[in-house]
């Protein structure tokens, strides 16, 4: 097959493509002259961390850049130059011959129209005809992408479908005109692992069936290794390395590629001694969310997010809480910290905290902290880093003078490996990894005993993820911290925790020491999870 593809002419060839953005702070060169070829029927993965320009390359080719972006160079599709082509002529290619699917299936569909209409629109636009005439074709497409019961679902609205189904709809729209090239921009990043695997399988089946080329833009090397034939590694707008997948993973030439490949979280955490006292415990935790019935409906219904879960965190322990979105793992973390109304018996060390209200909990807050997933959202954009990390001191040690607070801020920043000068700057001036360090510093400055980490690495690039995990393990060893580590990423959980709790639909499906869970999962659901995660990343 490789012999054949090498012989084939590329259908899309990009030469010296540059993308730059005009901003008030001067021009930003997002892509600095790259060359790449897409051959018919192959899967080309474009890999890189966020900010490497991998998405902007494709957006530039497709003429979809933001208003302040300009693209220069050349991108030819079957001999037709696409850069600088007028939008009308470009439309004949994009959406028909080259199509795209995006990361966010939740926002890429128009919520006002049924999905069948949205798919039919693509067909009608490029081939003419009426909505009605396109209907059989739409049904066929829905069947193709594996939507169950397409006759009924064709008139559904996007909000009636799950994330995975919406991504399937997006794929159906992309396939509507039988494209030669499908550009998939992080198609599975927003999806749960099990669904991720299904979508990737679907893409591969469709690729074989239609013999189309797929350009897969991703930061996940696990997917690349399993899925792509050739890989282009990008960094800071330049191509660092490209080659066949096997070769590239076996003998990476560039240091950067090697670093990316080795960034997979590694190491294990030893369990604390058996007699370690319990630091934080929740027995029979139940969390109900009230769903308001609205103005006319009198009775409000409830949704049980966490259903009778018992979890006890020992001193020095890290409990990994695993589950897909909606499994109630984040809710459980907040309930343990008594941040949301919940039932059950809670205790912190030897104190019973079940009956405490907000004011009663306040003195204990310094000992039990929370770190959030999104390093962009969890820092107030209008405060300096110094103000952010010393906020806890302002509450719990109000007697401290300004100079003392400043000293503590410097210590905390050094502890998380940031330059103390950072305290005068604002969060928007930092990268995702640095921001997550700031968020950790904010929790650590109070010298807590138990910390709930809610997906602290999910929004970060792999290489940065490794560093943050390293930091968290470091802090734990130094201060004997106990963590509840919530994540959907099994490889991270494996590296971080000594005990794993698997949750599904608000209940614990399985729990046990990490190694036992990963080597011999008992519950069927755990097996699916592990299977899905490690079949992509073998």
């Amino acid at each position: 097959m490789t012999e054949e593809t090498k012989a084939m002419e590329p259908i899309l060839s990009v030469r010296d493509l540059k993308v730059s953005f005009t901003t008030p702070d001067g021009d930003v060169n997002a892509v600095k002259g790259i060359d790449l070829d897409v051959r018919p029927g192959e899967t080309l993965a474009v890999v890189g961390e966020s900010g490497s320009g991998k998405s902007q390359t494709m957006m530039g080719i497709m003429g979809l850049l933001a208003a302040n972006g300009t693209v220069t160079g050349s991108a030819t599709y079957r001999g037709q130059e696409m850069v600088g082509l007028d939008p009308k002529a470009l439309n004949a290619i994009r959406g028909a011959k080259i199509t795209m699917i995006f990361q966010e299936p939740m926002t890429s569909l128009d919520p006002l129209y049924p999905i069948g209409k949205q798919i039919a629109e693509v067909i009608v636009h490029h081939r003419g005809g009426t909505q009605k005439a396109a209907r059989p074709r739409v049904l066929e497409l829905l069947k193709l992408v594996g939507i169950p019961d397409p006759e009924r679902r064709i008139d559904s609205y996007p909000h009636e479908m799950s994330g995975g189904q919406r991504q399937r709809i997006m794929i159906a729209m992309a396939l509507a005109n039988e494209p030669d090239i499908l550009i998939a921009d992080e198609p599975t990043t927003a999806l749960d692992v099990t669904i991720q695997a299904q979508i990737l399988k679907l893409l591969r089946d469709l690729q074989k069936r239609f013999d189309m080329a797929i350009v897969l833009i991703t930061h996940d090397l696990g997917i690349v290794r399993h899925f792509a034939e050739r890989v282009v590694v990008m960094r800071r707008g330049e191509v660092v390395e490209q080659g066949a997948t096997g070769e590239l993973f076996e003998t990476p030439k560039a240091d950067y590629t090697r670093m990316l490949i080795e960034a997979e979280p590694s190491g294990r955490k030893a369990a604390p001694p058996d007699n370690a006292p319990i630091i934080l415990e929740g027995r029979n935790v139940v969390v109900d969310y009230r769903i308001d019935g609205g103005l006319l409906k009198k009775r409000a219904s409830t949704f049980r997010a966490v259903d009778d879960v018992t979890i006890s965190l020992h001193e020095g322990q890290t409990i990994g809480v695993v589950g897909e979105s909606g499994s109630g793992k984040s809710t459980l973390g907040r309930a343990l910290l008594r941040l949301i109304a919940s039932e059950g018996a809670y205790r912190f060390g030897r104190t019973d905290i079940s009956g405490l209200d907000r004011a009663g909990m306040r003195p204990l807050r310094r000992s039990m902290q929370l770190v959030f997933q999104d390093p962009y959202g969890s820092l107030s954009p209008r405060q300096t880093v110094g103000e952010i990390i010393t906020e806890g001191l302002y509450v719990h040690e109000p007697q401290l003078s300004r100079a003392e607070r400043d000293k503590r801020a410097i210590e905390a920043l050094k502890e998380v490996g940031l330059d103390p000068a950072a305290r005068n700057r604002y969060p928007h001036e930092f990268s995702g990894g640095q921001r997550q360090r700031i968020a950790i510093a904010r929790a650590m400055i109070l010298k807590p005993q138990a910390v709930v980490l809610d997906e602290p690495t999910s929004a970060l690039d792999r290489s940065v993820q490794g560093q943050v995990i390293e930091l968290l393990r470091d802090l734990q060893a130094r201060y004997g911290l106990s963590y509840v580590f919530i994540s959907h990423d099994l490889s991270v959980v494996r590296a971080m925790s000594d005990y794993v709790v698997v949750m599904k639909d608000g209940r614990i499906v399985e729990e046990g020491p990490t190694d036992a869970i990963f080597s011999a999962p008992r519950a069927a659901y755990t097996r699916t999870l592990i299977g899905a995660a490690y079949n992509i990343a073998p």
Binding site: V28, Q56, R365, F430, G432
Partner: protein, 376 residues
């Protein structure tokens, strides 16, 4: 993706730029917005510093110069002086033999059949045009008097109104009051609206429900009715205008801030603050209000012109500022009544008013771009 590339490397500088400073930088690059700001400063200087420069006060009546059109030449002019002297002479029952002006002084020779009382000079003084009239010489047993005095020349660059008051001084005063009403009433609405909206949005649930229903009740009251009621109860006063307008305008502000707060509430930094143990009020003060500042500042630039217009409307109805105080609104209303006979009465206040509103809109536009560059 691009913003990661834009953010400067942390080692580059120690002192960070806050979002506000960045917004200011973007604002400075916006030409129309900067022009608008300069214009506003000029108009404010004109209104507030102008009265110290010109010699007329806003309530000084020049009975000789009722509805004089604007002119760059000083009043009275040569022929007008001649005319005025004749008028004075007639009133003093003397005959004017000759009249001449040299620089600032005039010399008039008057005759009569009977000896003239030297107090006739006072007739000259009584006219706005002449001052310090003295009898320089007396001939023919007092039948012929030579009077000298100073010609009181006045500049009316904007002309005068129907009562003979200098329109320029009036426009300056109107500017002071309109700008003051605009700013103060907006601040009143800002203060009430931001706090009310933030509390309502942050507390949520029943409190939010009650607070917002109250706002809706106030919304449904007709504005003029509210004003009339307040005026009846408290009598007319300058302060009342701020309160009335502020009391109406904060409703919009409260809604905007509440909406902002609702979306802020779901942001993780609010959750983080809760996890740190901050009280509700601390969270509102330290996290909610500072983060609503962008939309609020923009909305202020919409409110200020709106308030100025409202004040004009009230003045137009006779519920606003009372004579001899005035505002641009009442000046325009007055000018509109005399549009045909004395168009300048309408033109000058209208120019200032329109330029101010335009400038405010440009500034508001610039602020919006500066605070939300991604919205464009």
């Amino acid at each position: 993706m691009t913003d990661a590339a834009v953010s400067p490397s942390p080692a580059a500088e120690v002192k960070g730029r806050s979002l506000f400073q960045l917004a200011l930088l973007r604002f400075r690059r916006n030409r129309p917005a900067m022009a608008g700001s300069v214009m506003l400063v000029l108009i404010a200087c004109f209104s507030f510093l102008g009265p110290f420069v010109i010699s007329h006060s806003y309530d000084q009546v020049f009975s000789s110069y009722v509805t004089t059109p604007p002119n760059l030449e000083p009043r009275p002019g040569a022929d007008a002086l001649e005319e005025a002297t004749k008028r004075v002479a007639a009133r003093a029952r003397v005959e004017l033999q000759s009249f001449s002006v040299e620089g600032e002084t005039f010399t008039a020779v008057v005759t009569a059949r009977d000896p003239i009382d030297p107090r006739a000079a006072r007739y000259f003084d009584r006219a706005n045009e002449f001052d310090k009239t003295e009898v320089a010489a007396s001939e023919d047993d007092g039948r012929k008097l030579t009077l000298t005095g100073v010609v009181d020349r006045e500049y009316f660059l904007f002309g005068t109104d129907t009562n003979g008051r200098d329109l320029m001084a009036r426009v300056m005063l109107g500017g002071q009051i309109s700008i003051a009403v605009g700013l103060l009433a907006s601040l009143v609405s800002l203060g009430i609206g931001v706090v009310y909206g933030a509390i309502s949005g942050y507390m949520g649930g029943r409190i939010d429900n009650v607070m917002m229903r109250f706002v809706e009740i106030l919304y449904s009251l007709p504005f003029v009715f509210l004003v009339v009621v307040l005026v009846v109860f408290f009598g007319r006063s300058f302060v009342l205008i701020f309160i009335v307008i502020g009391a109406v305008e904060w409703l919009d502000m409260a809604r905007i801030v509440r909406g902002q707060t609702l979306s802020l509430k779901r942001r993780e930094f609010i959750g983080a603050a809760e996890a740190l143990g901050l009280t509700d009020w601390q969270i509102i003060r330290r996290h909610v209000i500072p983060n609503t500042i962008g939309p609020v500042v923009i909305f202020i630039t919409v409110i200020v012109p709106k308030v100025i217009l409202l004040e004009s409307f009230l003045s137009f109805l006779g519920l606003g500022v009372q004579a001899p105080l005035t505002s641009w609104g009442s000046l325009i209303a007055e000018g509109a009544n005399n549009m045909q006979s004395a168009p300048w009465l309408l033109v000058f206040p209208a120019i200032f008013f329109v330029v101010t509103l335009f400038s405010l809109n440009f500034v508001g536009d610039g602020l919006r771009d500066a605070f939300d560059p991604k919205d464009r």
